[in-house]
Subunit: 154 residues, 2 copies
């Protein structure tokens, strides 16, 4: 009897809800959501005191990834399955960076301008004042930068 390949054991995925706790929040001068114009916005990512020690050494990185919880999107009047862009083409919401996705998570690669204790000063974060922050990660170009990635012609 022949076996082409040992069948892989499968782990049942945990598909129940999960509870996350913010580790900090955004401070900047942007009070209203907007689609563009974030490149030059300077923000503070204020990390809660109990997490300050977990930032040690992050100032050695020029860029960080901020994972935020786009809390205003939750109350949006409409949660469309698709979006039709200016060209007339339609994309599923997960094929866009819209906030109106099933989980309102933002992932932003931003310049780390400085750190003072538990406060990170960053440039280019596309999140309004008061947005909860779930995670801060160092940006690793070997892993995160794919300059040749292709996108459709919209």
């Amino acid at each position: 009897m022949f076996w082409k390949k040992k069948p892989a054991r499968r782990r049942a995925p945990a598909l129940g809800p999960m509870t996350l706790q913010p580790i900090g929040y955004v401070r900047n001068d942007v009070a209203q959501p907007r689609p563009h114009g974030w490149e030059r916005v300077e923000s503070e990512v204020v990390v809660l005191p109990e997490h300050e020690g977990k930032l040690e050494g992050i100032e050695g990185y020029s860029h960080v990834i901020i994972v935020s919880w786009l809390d205003l999107a939750r109350g949006a009047p409409d949660h469309p399955e698709t979006l039709t862009v200016a060209s007339g083409n339609t994309y599923g919401i997960l094929a866009t960076r819209s906030q109106l996705r099933p989980n309102h998570l933002g992932v932003s690669a931003v310049a780390l301008v400085g750190r003072e204790g538990a406060v990170l000063r960053v440039r280019g974060l596309d999140a309004i004042d008061g947005t909860p922050v779930l995670d801060v990660k160092p940006y690793l170009p070997e892993y995160d930068a794919i300059p040749g990635a292709r996108i459709p012609e919209v």
Copy 2:
């Protein structure tokens, strides 16, 4: 009387817990966590049927960002504040990509090899079989790729 600058109005951040719901899960042949060796791993991201329509058009992108919930990390025996790397230098856990961060979120930029309905075939996803997926985003090189980002000398 002079005002140098109009004081910005501040929004109180919502710092309570938030509940997220997986939109899918990972299928691959990797049963145990490992630190390296993910580059050539092929995985399926199985999106739940109710979200399939939200993927429309994502196949036009060469790469996607997968936000996963590293559920095994939750049960880890130790949740250190810092990690000491091979060089002897110590980094806060948020200055590493370790899974043992406060919220066990993974952010991975991966090649999108193909799509069949609600299943995305991807290469390079560093998540074991059965890992819940919270979000799928198109990788936008203009926004996500920072090839010149600097990292410390470890």
